[in-house]
């Protein structure tokens, strides 16, 4: 615990320093409040609107989590399919990789077209953002399974099911978690974008509306909360990773 605290000290100090510079800079340099508001004003605005913000936070978090959950299910299924079928490996896998050259942001309006202005268009955009890292990293995890272990298990009489459950699946877990951590971070961005494209609630909608009204404190408080959400989701994914992979590798981290 002490070690952890002391490891976080430099970064914590740095953040405090930036916060202090922000506060002092905006006061001393006379930057207009609609360009960069004072940090204290941002917090005041956050506090004044705490109930509204909490509601929007919950909406965006819900969209991100729902999309993330569906991506985990779909991405893992796709990875299992790619692993299990030679045809899928030759057709689906390159397609999924190539699909990443399509600018996802450009595709997002199509989701609105298909799923309307309700929550599902936001969830669809989140899936658009998070499916790829999970599917590809999990598929790569399957492929990284040590063939010698597979041979050994076959020599010991393992059936197909054993090979999948006791060799392939555990081998793919580190890759899956790498994908999950990436996906967790960008899921918030997906949800935000979905809300920009049209929505009644959520922090993305809140910041956009505040921006239109030049309420810089409100914009910044929304942005800070979205960043916090991204960090929290990433930490949650890492926590899950450590819980599942604990003791597996030298050092504390899975990968």
């Amino acid at each position: 615990m002490m070690r952890k605290a002391s490891a976080a000290l430099p970064a914590g100090t740095f953040i405090l320093l930036i916060a202090a510079l922000w506060e002092a800079g905006t006061m001393l340099l006379g930057i207009p409040h609609y360009i960069i508001p004072k940090l204290s004003d941002v917090f005041v605005s956050m506090w004044d609107n705490r109930q509204t913000l909490a509601g929007h936070f919950a909406v965006t978090l819900g969209e991100a989590l729902l999309g993330l959950g569906l991506s985990v299910a779909l991405g893992t299924l796709a990875a299992v399919w790619i692993e299990g079928s030679r045809l899928a490996r030759k057709t689906l896998y390159p397609l999924i990789v190539a699909s990443q050259t399509i600018p996802i942001i450009a595709l997002s309006p199509i989701m609105v077209l298909w799923f309307g202005y309700e929550v599902w268009s936001k969830v669809a955009v989140v899936i658009l953002f998070t499916f790829f890292p999970i599917a590809v990293n999990t598929a790569d995890g399957f492929r990284s399974a040590d063939p010698e272990i597979g041979d050994l298990m076959r020599a010991m009489g393992a059936r197909k099911r054993d090979l999948f459950l006791k060799w392939k699946l555990p081998s793919a877990l580190p890759g899956f978690f790498t994908g999950l951590k990436m996906a967790a971070t960008i899921s918030v961005g997906g949800a935000t974008l979905g809300e920009w494209l049209g929505g009644e609630s959520g922090l993305g909608m809140y910041t956009k509306r505040a921006s239109n009204m030049l309420r810089a404190e409100a914009v910044f408080s929304g942005v800070l909360l979205l960043s916090l959400m991204g960090i929290l989701l990433f930490l949650a994914a890492r926590l899950a990773e450590r819980a599942v992979l604990s003791g597996r590798f030298p050092g504390e981290q899975g990968r």
């Binding site: 010698e148 272990i149 041979d151 010991m156 009489g157 054993d162 555990p170 877990l173 992979l245 030298p250």
Partner: protein, 290 residues
């Protein structure tokens, strides 16, 4: 080549008691493994094995010594059932007729060159893997593995993960896994080649002790002539590809043996003979290792 083989077999069989009596004791035991006309190659043009015959009797410790690249590991993969012979039969135990590879899978303990332990499993769960794959309930498999940990010098490591163990310890776990998982036959593929010389000497003595207590049939691949002679009842050697017969040396050193045996005159004579069979004619002391 095959004449030499017969001669060697006769010698092993007729030595009355010899020293320690390993020769005569083994000759009456039934063959646990018989290979007939084994042919295999990765390309048709240059097979690794062409019509290879050999037998291994129950309870025997047999080493295979061949120069690199002649298919030692391929031979073991064939024996384990991971590869199918292009011609010929490999019969284990009673089922002489059963040539199907599937019938061997799960009946032969295999210890690969690298330990190939599952990094996500504890020592105990790694050791129990073979039993688990053969359908033993997990609890019972763990229980049986736990009982054997002290015998294999692994007491107190059951909750550790492989990366927390030294190379020698990992090989012990791998050996325990092969012992528990396989049937009557153990295939050890250069298990000590990755260890440093000190650890290797320790592991050789350790393996001798374990084997002398349990007397499972062991087939052992090595490129280390000393190691082969020290451990084995018989050493099968080949020096030219494709292998159609093994030349054989019956090692009539008394058991129990320890590392001091390599200094005996008889040992050095056999070593010179083995090096000659391997096509490495030596003048003088014949102290060429590997």
């Amino acid at each position: 080549m095959s004449g030499l083989q017969v001669q060697a077999e006769e010698r092993a069989g007729t030595q009355p008691g010899g020293t320690g009596g390993s020769g005569s004791r083994l000759s009456v035991r039934p063959a646990i493994l018989s290979v007939r006309g084994l042919t295999y190659g990765f390309s048709r043009a240059e097979p690794l094995f062409a019509g290879l015959d050999f037998d291994v009797r129950e309870g025997e410790f047999v080493s295979f010594v061949m120069p690199s690249g002649m298919g030692k590991t391929t031979l073991f993969r064939l024996l384990a059932g991971l590869l199918a012979p292009q011609a010929g039969t490999i019969a284990v135990g009673e089922e002489r007729a059963a040539a199907a590879e599937a019938s061997r899978l799960g009946h032969i303990g295999y210890m690969p060159q690298r330990d190939s332990l599952l990094p996500w499993r504890t020592v105990l769960d790694n050791a129990a893997l073979g039993l688990e794959l053969r359908g033993t309930p997990k609890r019972e498999a763990r229980h049986r593995a736990l009982e054997l940990l002290p015998v294999f010098g692994l007491e107190g490591t059951e909750r550790k993960h492989p990366h927390e163990l030294s190379g020698g310890m990992r090989q012990r776990v791998s050996f325990l896994r092969a012992t528990l998982g396989g049937g009557k036959l153990l295939l050890l593929d250069e298990p000590f080649s990755a260890l440093d010389a000190m650890t290797r000497a320790g592991m050789q003595e350790w393996l001798l002790q374990i084997w002398e207590r349990h007397r499972k049939t062991i087939l052992f691949i090595t490129h280390d002539v000393d190691e082969a002679l020290l451990l084995s009842d018989r050493v099968l050697a080949a020096s030219a590809s494709p292998v159609s017969a093994f030349s054989e040396i019956a090692v009539d050193l008394p058991r129990p043996r320890d590392c001091g045996a390599v200094l005996e005159e008889r040992f050095i004579r056999m070593k010179r003979e083995l090096l000659r069979l391997l096509g490495r004619e030596t003048r003088g002391s014949g102290g060429d290792r590997r």
